[in-house]
């Protein structure tokens, strides 16, 4: 079995109008896990459950990447976390905020912090209330990385970043994940391209349940895209779970699991459709199908 950095076992968390049910996943050391799902699918709740920011109704979270599985010590010392929305002390300057936060981390690296500040073009004399959304995202990143976390948990971290900054950030994340220090990265995002680029594992949440979990390449290779031309009335004869998309050029697109390809081709041929292209789908297409 692979060396785990994070294990979630049968996690349940109920709210009045939403429930996270039976989530189990194992994150191997050195991996970047992309957490995707529609709004309200439970991504942020799962992240907060892992961090202990919400109480679990049942289940267990284990962090083998932390000393003593993170049981004895405050796990927040070892985790770099950027929540979906974060309010800083608006009246502070960046310098004061950094100084305030640094007091609580024994592994805080002021040199690295300065380096990041230069790289992210943050002016330490600037008041937090005068920062743009992108600058705030950079500040959150700086605070999350400057104490050399062992586990990075990022909830929509690139929201508000410009395309260049986003690209640089993702590259840096890749680099960080390859260093011995950071054992794993869990990143949630709505942007599939971003997740496909960065994550070597995917966790797709649907209605509070884990709909898919596995290696990104494996997941993508397990799905196929069938592209063909057909009259509309034939589509109603296909199994309902085979969602058919209609493209602008009039072609129909069927996203199905690889083991159904043969059956689908047989069925379509039966209705006289012979010109069928079998392609590899994009992650976005799989996500729409699954989530």
């Amino acid at each position: 079995m692979e060396n785990s950095a994070l294990e979630v076992i049968d996690l349940d968390k109920k709210y009045t109008n939403f429930a996270l049910t039976g989530i189990s996943l194992q994150v191997p050391s050195g991996s970047i896990v992309g957490l995707i799902g529609q709004n309200g699918a439970g991504k942020s709740t799962l992240i907060k459950s892992i961090l202990g920011l919400v109480k679990l109704d049942s289940g267990r979270v284990s962090l083998p990447c932390l000393p003593d599985n993170g049981r004895k010590d405050d796990i927040r010392k070892w985790v770099g976390y950027i929540p979906e929305t974060l309010t800083f002390y608006e009246w502070m300057t960046i310098k004061r905020l950094v100084k305030f936060v640094s007091n609580y981390y024994s592994r805080w690296d002021q040199e690295y912090c300065r380096e990041l500040m230069v790289r992210y073009e943050l002016d330490e004399s600037k008041l937090v209330k005068h920062l743009s959304k992108g600058m705030r995202a950079k500040l959150a990143l700086l605070l999350a990385l400057s104490h050399h976390p062992l586990l990075l948990i990022l909830d929509e971290p690139t929201a508000g970043l410009d395309p260049l900054m986003k690209h640089n950030f993702l590259q840096e994340l890749r680099h960080l994940a390859n260093t011995a220090e950071i054992r794993a990265v869990l990143i949630s995002s709505h942007i599939m391209g971003e997740i496909e680029y960065i994550a070597d594992r995917l966790a797709v949440l649907r209605g509070g349940r884990l709909a898919l979990y596995g290696e990104t390449e494996k997941i993508i290779s397990q799905w196929k895209k069938l592209s063909f031309v057909s009259p509309l009335d034939i589509l109603s004869l296909l199994p309902q779970e085979w969602r058919v998309n209609i493209h602008g050029d009039g072609r129909r697109v069927l996203i199905i699991e690889e083991h159904n390809v043969e059956r689908a081709i047989d069925l379509l041929s039966h209705y006289g459709i012979n010109s069928i292209e079998v392609l590899n789908p994009e992650l976005q297409e799989i996500f729409i199908k699954v989530a």
């Binding site: 920011l53 919400v54 405050d74 927040r76 929540p83 974060l86 609580y104």
Partner: protein, 234 residues
């Protein structure tokens, strides 16, 4: 804990300064306007209503309520600081600010006025002690109420509780006085009884301190266990 205390002081520096100026100038003005013959009861009355009742609510609003309204409790929650430490820092800041202010008003100002030639009696040490204990109690109570509840509800509850305590004591005194007077019992005599039994007073004082510490501890536990969505108020 120091960074938290410094942060709270800096965050509310303007409000604290204004409060201190008004809290110091009000009793001074009260005494100067009243008359040279007046005793320290004026000071005690104003100090009691302003510092013992008013300050704990104001400090709880500034130190706890504002963190909830602005959502910065969430920021503290992601840092490796225990809820207990946060509450302890806030309670200690409030206590120090309140106790320094009150003792300055009760002891230092009258002393300064006396030195400057204005005849002024200084509050009895026992009175000062009880006012200090009352302040500790109300600060702990407000810390607990504001941590546990929405700050608007907490303010209402806090004001209502304090008014109820004050009014209740006044009404009970008025009602009991005519009943006790014919039998030779009065407020003076009643307190006189306690004067001869310092053990009872120390015991009550000790109970107040224990109860206050328990309220602060409970507030710390509440913050520690608070879930992320509950840490921000609209």
């Amino acid at each position: 804990m120091w960074p938290l205390i410094v942060k709270d002081m800096m965050q509310n520096a303007k409000a604290l300064l204004l409060f201190y100026i008004s809290a110091l100038s009000l009793p001074t003005a009260y005494y100067l306007i009243k008359s040279p013959q007046s005793d320290s009861s004026g000071f005690v009355g104003v100090t009691f209503s302003y510092v013992v009742f008013g300050a704990p609510i104001l400090f709880a609003v500034w130190f706890i309520g504002q963190e909830k309204v602005k959502g910065t409790f969430r920021f503290l929650k992601i840092l490796p600081i225990s809820g207990m430490r946060v509450i302890l820092a806030k309670s200690l800041t409030s206590l120090c600010l309140c106790l320094i202010l009150m003792n300055f008003i009760l002891l230092v100002i009258p002393l300064l006025l006396r030195i400057s030639g204005i005849p002024m009696s200084i509050s009895a040490p026992r009175m000062v002690l009880w006012l200090n204990l009352a302040t500790i109690f109300f600060i702990s109570l407000n810390t607990l109420v504001f941590t546990a509840l929405d700050h608007k509800i907490a303010t209402q509850i806090s004001i209502f509780c304090m008014m109820a305590v004050g009014l209740g004591a006044a009404i009970a005194g008025k009602l009991l006085a005519p009943l006790l007077a014919p039998h030779g019992y009065g407020f003076g005599k009643l307190t006189g009884l306690f004067k001869n039994e310092p053990g009872i007073l120390y015991f009550i004082g000790f109970l107040i301190l224990i109860f206050s510490a328990a309220m602060i501890r409970l507030a710390g536990r509440i913050l520690e266990r608070a879930e992320w969505p509950d840490l921000e108020e609209s």
